[in-house]
Subunit: 180 residues, 2 copies
Amino acid sequence: MRNMDKKIFEDIKKIEKRLGSLSSTQKILLATDGSVTTILDVLTGHVTIRTLLQEFRAADADVADLLNLDKGTTINYRVVVIEGKKPLIYATSIIPLDRLDNDFKEDLIRADIPIGRILKKHNIESRREIKSVAVEEANQHLQEIFDTDSLMLTRTYNIIHKDQILIWLKETFPYNMFRE
Amino acid sequence: MRNMDKKIFEDIKKIEKRLGSLSSTQKILLATDGSVTTILDVLTGHVTIRTLLQEFRAADADVADLLNLDKGTTINYRVVVIEGKKPLIYATSIIPLDRLDNDFKEDLIRADIPIGRILKKHNIESRREIKSVAVEEANQHLQEIFDTDSLMLTRTYNIIHKDQILIWLKETFPYNMFRE
């Protein structure tokens, strides 16, 4: 097993020691290298996204470091809530615009389509590297979105395409969700 | 949503109508486009594979059709059980040898490494197309492996790399497993 995978599995065990056991679904949502949209679709019916923020930014030092970019490169910064009948996952994504094909770029900026579905539509071959999993306190913003003061489970990962980080993602959901 | 995905979700609902509700884990195992090895690793601890059969064959008409090959092309036919403390998933795979890079080929033929882990080791960018999900009666072979006469849940899918089917897979597990 690769070291990074091993670290993720160990970190999930540490979270369980701290919070109590996670459900199978929670563990899968934290560890999977597959489309989270697909998982939410099959669990809850067809999910949609609500875009809270989408803007172009210049990569600051932290972002440049995360995505292996030059500082100042234009990135698409997007914050969405993936939801069925209720909010399911809060997701932040960073995409360097110059790594996008044109029609892919259009879909990404134009419409409220989950990234997993866009990748499928364009038959994008990729791989996902899970970088971290963690527990976080909910800030007020997250408390309002999920209507809970539960602790939050969160992970970060990269979607890699043509050997470059195409998308950096952070996904967050409350510990009291996906419990069965 | 793409039509094929939609069909898979509808077929899973049909299975639930027939058998009763599937667990979240079962639905995810049938629908995910991520590594099943990763999911089993996070659910049960580090899984391994036991190879029941591995041989080179010439593609017959059915296989040629499934993988979009010329009849007679050499394929690697492999049947394995993915297991933790007990058998978890029975998997049959078909790989056309001429679509493999050399070091990837070596890993695939040499060692008892799950395909998901081999793809990761070699940083292979790919996408998975789920082709079908179904319920099947367990034949005697499967009954013995899983020590149950439960009905079986099964799916087929392609792992696509460089626009070609690199691996065709069929995975099977008993309806009475992954129930929580």
